[in-house]
Subunit: 235 residues, 2 copies
Amino acid sequence: MAYDLWYWPQIPGRGEFVRLALEAAGITYRDRAREEGADALAADLAARKGLRPFAPPYLVDGDFAIAQVAHILAWLADRHGFGAGTLARDLELITVQLTVSDMVAEVHAVHHPVATGLYYREQEDAAARAAAEFRAGRLTRFLDYFEDALGENGGPFVLGDRWSHVDTSLFQLVEGLQYMFPRRMAAVFGGYPRLAACHAAVGAIEGVAAYRASSRCIAFNEDGIFRHYPELDGP
Amino acid sequence: MAYDLWYWPQIPGRGEFVRLALEAAGITYRDRAREEGADALAADLAARKGLRPFAPPYLVDGDFAIAQVAHILAWLADRHGFGAGTLARDLELITVQLTVSDMVAEVHAVHHPVATGLYYREQEDAAARAAAEFRAGRLTRFLDYFEDALGENGGPFVLGDRWSHVDTSLFQLVEGLQYMFPRRMAAVFGGYPRLAACHAAVGAIEGVAAYRASSRCIAFNEDGIFRHYPELDGP
């Protein structure tokens, strides 16, 4: 039976981290809100009971729903064999994957430092300060950490010659950062050869390449996590 | 063999969510940075290789290190039997636990909206706006979600009469929110009888009560996640 993925249909956002792993692994899924719209997503989420998702994305398999990007990916990796296959290594992958989630949250907070419920234009002064700080500090601190993780097994992937959910996520992180901070990424990314190699290797995975060439893959835009506001970028 | 917990020694912070579960379960651990200081923590973290923690807290068992609060707790729950004991339910607990982590990150961002690397006094204008928005919106949105989760099995705990890592975390969340937003929590907390019952039930767990009466349990302060700045609170 195919999985149902539920996520906001107009942005790649956090949903894309789940999609890329599904596509790389050739797993069949229905992208429900892309088919049925955001209202259907809101209705589905509101109708769920018990220990339910707090927010999209979530993946549904029959009666079971699982939320939180890193959690969804760890579960899929275990079921479909794109984790490490040993407990200690799988747990280490999850530690790294959760750090990807932390970076994604910090990236969103750059353009929404005051509140997610306000528009960017209502908080652009604070965002300008947040962006300058992020570009100068946290950006490379996170990239340094992921670069080191990719050195663990000789690359191009974290596990070596076999991709995992961490790699597809690092691909999307690099894509997003290059979209959001083109000047800053141009200035620093030369210092991250392993991330560049991982990015290239994930892009060459057959399922990823086919997905990204399809109309199902939508572009970054200024409603999402990664937004290109030139005033937030810098050298 | 006892676990080693590593976390910043001067604050309860994210480490406290791990400590409370360890104490509730009666699991022996060494609180390394409390014994040896913050420099020892920085040195230990810097010396780690490969797929290592990005930041404290992390828990070490021999050669293995695991980071990220929700991940540490899920792993401990599996090893020590304070999860649900069935896969689907354990996965659901992790979904909720990761939502606790999200709320903790948002709470921290209230007093540090611009950058974690700046002092509060360097961003207090943005923090005042962030706090007003948080008190009006996200605070009760999260609490509503946790209140619902506690209704799933009749309380006082998420699983019913047996505590899990989610309950000890909800206890700490309530403690922290009452410290940080005493006026706002006084105004709204009457609407959360299940959270109040869970809080009371966790506080009565023998290991938790003994720990909290000991000198090992330190008070909230203005270097931590939950900070009491009266100007950020309101009715």
